[in-house]
């Protein structure tokens, strides 16, 4: 039933073929968005396959080829186990792909040297489903850590950290420890930490995974604002409402394959 269509944007034909289901392409068509595209993509997958040793028969991702360009806001959707988290974890080199090539911010992640990895990660803000805040540091110190890591001076840390905490609305909780905050607040701290050094790429794994709809909306608004400053954003989620209301590029994964790649997409009907 799936009719293969090429995903086009701004008249430019992408290098890799992208697939979408015919059914979805007949949804209310919206004029093509003007996406700022530079010649080279920020993220570039080529025939990428990831097989976990524990499941040699069933690849977590298989033969993925796609590009994500600077300034894009991409949703990665799919069921649990469809490969979303693997996708995200490949991007910041938490795991290494089994075959194919993957380039992120100009670094070839298939053969990046160990000492380069921290430098790669400094160009990628990461928001995790489980927040991954340092439990022994205050909110301020957690955010400041991302700046200290890249060797920013104390003065920069002391001006930039409160600024970004104000952006996420947590300026009054700077001296709290993470376990004194609610889930939504912790998630906002983790976003603040991810964006404080102004990385060109922000990847989020289920940023609203365990938050109520109201809080989720707030987080999405925040991500949208960050995107408007030019930051490329990749969000893995299964929050249908959020994806449908934002109408951004949607990449749907199923059993490790890209089953749909669509500009201004929705979560999907099959979910």
């Amino acid at each position: 039933m799936a009719k293969h269509t090429k995903r086009t944007r701004g008249g430019q034909i992408p290098k890799a073929s992208r697939e979408g289901t015919g059914k979805l392409s007949s949804l209310p068509s919206i004029e093509e968005m003007e996406v700022q595209q530079s010649g080279t993509p920020v993220i570039s997958f080529r025939h990428l396959t990831k097989v976990y040793p524990a499941q040699p028969e069933k690849p977590a991702l298989e033969d993925i080829s796609l590009d994500i360009y600077a300034g894009e806001f991409v949703f990665l959707v799919g069921h649990s186990g469809s490969g979303k988290t693997t996708f995200i974890r490949l991007l910041n080199r938490e795991i290494v792909a089994s075959s194919g090539t993957l380039e992120v911010s100009g670094e070839n992640l298939m053969n990046i040297r160990g000492w380069r990895i921290p430098y790669l990660r400094r160009n990628i803000g990461c928001v995790f489903q489980d927040f991954k805040l340092l439990p022994n540091k205050t909110v301020f110190e957690n955010v400041a850590f991302a700046l200290e890591v890249i060797g920013k001076s104390q003065a920069v840390v002391e001006t930039q950290t409160p600024e970004v905490l104000r952006l996420v609305g947590l300026e009054s909780k700077m001296d709290k420890m993470p376990d004194q905050l609610s889930g939504g607040e912790q998630q906002r701290v983790s976003i603040a930490r991810a964006v404080v050094n102004r990385p060109p790429l922000l990847i989020c794994d289920e940023p609203t995974g365990n938050l109520d709809p109201q809080t989720s909306l707030g987080i999405m608004r925040l991500l949208e604002r960050i995107n408007r400053t030019g930051t490329t954003i990749v969000v893995a989620t299964h929050d249908r409402e959020m994806v449908d209301s934002m109408r951004r590029r949607v990449i749907a994964l199923e059993n490790g394959h890209v089953v749909r790649d669509q500009d201004r997409g929705v979560y999907g009907l099959d979910a």
Binding site: N92, W115, Y119, R121, C126, L134, V149
Partner: protein, 304 residues
């Protein structure tokens, strides 16, 4: 330089926040090092005792009554020139008798039985730097021509040279055993302590492995992550070692004089120099374990 002060600041903060874990590590290091320190103290004491026993070993060369003074002086000079010999004393016949009389004050009848005659030969008393060299030196004296000429019993020169032949051999066997056992015990303790402290540090870092992984994911380089942890490990071992050194010093100051009065026939004493050596060793050993242990324990968590 800035990062060094950053590491130190971070280590202090983390030290305060993980007080109980740190306290545990410090106490472990303190107790382990204290045990090692006490055994070092003990081995130094034993070494002193052994040495003082060994130092009683000397060579006595008996000289014939008719020996020419110039020959005696020549032999004296030759022996004095041996590298192993610390000093040589000449005891005249008269002096020998006088010494003998003094020793025999409880049995004056023996001296009286001599009836004014002096059967005691003059002698050379040879002291050595290293008593273990006694056989070697004795052999060289035996081979000496002057000695053969002036020895008391020219029929059998070896009879004129006394150093407690068999006894000395056995004594050195025993003292060497004592030395080896001392070294083995301290080595074993060092090993046990290393395992013990290493495990404590490993547990402390295991508890924070998530933290290390998060730091990696935020883009911290390994050096940047290690810094505060190593500084914290160093701080723990320094404090632990300081307590241990104070403990050892207190034992030397208060417990050892009691032991010395109880066992007054044994030369029990540990010099300030030896105490300083123990302190430095404990400090270095503690630091090495603290730093090395932290480094080892962190290694696997830095691979994210």
């Amino acid at each position: 330089m800035r990062s060094l002060s950053y590491f130190f600041k971070e280590a202090l903060i983390s030290f305060r926040r993980n007080m109980s874990t740190n306290l545990g590590a410090i106490i472990t290091i303190f107790l382990s090092l204290l045990v090692i320190g006490v055994f070092m103290l003990g081995s130094i004491m034993v070494k002193h005792i052994v040495e003082s026993v060994e130092n009683q070993v000397s060579i006595t060369v008996y000289v014939a009554d008719n020996a020419a003074q110039e020959d005696i002086d020549k032999l004296l000079g030759t022996i004095r020139d041996y590298d192993e010999v610390s000093d040589v004393k000449f005891t005249t016949k008269e002096q020998a008798l006088k010494n003998f009389t003094e020793q025999m004050t409880s049995n004056p009848e023996i001296v009286q039985a001599l009836d004014g005659a002096n059967p005691l030969p003059a002698s050379l008393d040879v002291n050595l730097y290293d008593p273990q060299q006694v056989e070697n030196v004795a052999q060289r004296i035996l081979d000496n021509e002057t000695f053969k000429k002036i020895c008391d019993n020219s029929g059998d020169p070896s009879d004129s040279l006394k150093y407690g032949q068999q006894t000395v051999e056995r004594l050195f066997q025993v003292t060497n055993y004592i030395r080896y056992i001392g070294i083995a015990v301290v080595a074993l303790l060092v090993f046990v302590t290393f395992i013990f402290i290493n495990n404590t540090i490993r547990l402390a870092i295991l508890a924070r492995r998530r933290e290390i992984a998060i730091m990696r994911l935020v883009g911290a380089s390994n050096g940047f992550i290690r810094g505060p942890f190593l500084m914290e490990g160093a701080l723990q071992s320094l404090i632990g070692a300081a307590f241990a050194i104070v403990g050892v010093a207190l034992i030397r100051r208060f417990a050892m004089p009691k032991l010395a009065t109880a066992l007054s026939w044994l030369p029990i004493s540990v010099s300030n120099m030896a105490l300083l050596k123990i302190s430095v060793l404990l400090l270095i050993f503690g630091l090495i374990i603290g730093l090395f242990g932290s480094l080892l324990a962190m290694r696997r968590y830095l691979k994210v």
